[in-house]
Subunit: 195 residues, 2 copies
């Protein structure tokens, strides 16, 4: 394969050979890995979303004991978390479709890799910060903070906290998936550069 | 300089031209922008660190009124924030030096861009999540949360909250710098790919 790149020095006629560092089959198989990872990202964000949305818990009651309900939207941090997960989920659908379409039209692969790298980084920033925000609040809920008299609430709202914890774990996994996707794409771009 | 790499084909007058899509001067100027951005990243992380470390505030007193001291290490979220800022600051020094060294040895630029893209993404993940974590806690400190009876504390600890807010703002700026650095590097890699 590599020998075809060399100029035909015998005749002195050089065929203008466009550099083709990556064989199309390799590029396609890279996009297949990309599609699988993006589908996994979609699954992770949707799982995390569902677990977050079903975290509602009511304790207390029956009358006269007061009923206390806790939901994810009691804290702006979890609302931000919800928005970030939705954005990442939607993004993963769109990019999965884009990635599938490039398997059939490999000539657009370089351009798409560049776009992916740009947007993946932005979504990573959003998802990582949202996971951090929700995680910070969840930690105070779990442990409390004596310095400012914020009491822990997870001893009362066990189901709620379990759901938040699971959503956070899956979202952390999704963040690592995004990091891995960016690495994969940058590496693919790098492989296209002639040595 | 570059001509020494080429095979000397006396008979076939055509010299095998390794694809050189980016002129060395362009590559060098890109690394100059890179160095400036990394120095800016260093300045931002150090500023944020200093502002965070000087956030200590004592209210109350003199005797018999109780003295209450608040410091960043009262919350694990701010400790994580401190660690992430330190890591990002250290990283920015190392990569600034690496970037400067490549201006003098442009032949390593592609490899370095690849390494930068890998590590920048990881540091972005750490810094964005830490900014989110500290931001989430700071927001509760500012507004409180009635649902779980976490009282706001910023009405008492005004200086502390100002410092935390400023550190968060500068750290957010540093995160965007990192995103911009990754974009720049991926773009540089993309430009090296022959059309």
């Amino acid at each position: 394969m590599a020998s075809t790149d060399k100029p035909d020095t015998e005749s002195g006629k050089e065929v203008s050979q466009p550099p083709q560092p990556v064989a199309p089959s390799t590029a396609t198989s890279l996009f297949k890995v990309d599609v699988v990872l993006r589908l996994l990202l979609f699954a992770a964000t949707v799982t995390s979303l569902v677990v977050l949305l079903t975290s509602k818990q009511t304790i207390g009651g029956p009358f006269p004991a007061p009923k206390i309900e806790v939901k994810f939207d009691n804290s702006p941090a979890f609302i931000y978390f919800l928005v970030a997960l939705s954005v990442a989920g939607l993004y993963s659908i769109i990019t999965t479709l884009a990635s599938i379409s490039v398997i059939h039209k490999p000539q657009y692969s370089t351009k798409l890799l560049l776009h992916f790298a740009f947007w993946d980084v932005l979504i990573l920033g959003i998802l990582a910060s949202a996971t951090g925000t929700a995680g910070g609040i969840a930690y105070v809920g779990l442990k409390g903070n004596d310095h400012v008299q914020w009491n822990k609430v997870c001893n009362h709202f066990d189901k709620f906290c379990r759901h938040i914890g699971a959503a956070l774990a899956v979202s952390l996994f999704a963040s690592f998936l995004l990091i891995f996707l960016i690495w994969l794409n940058v590496n693919s771009l790098h492989k296209k550069i002639p040595k």
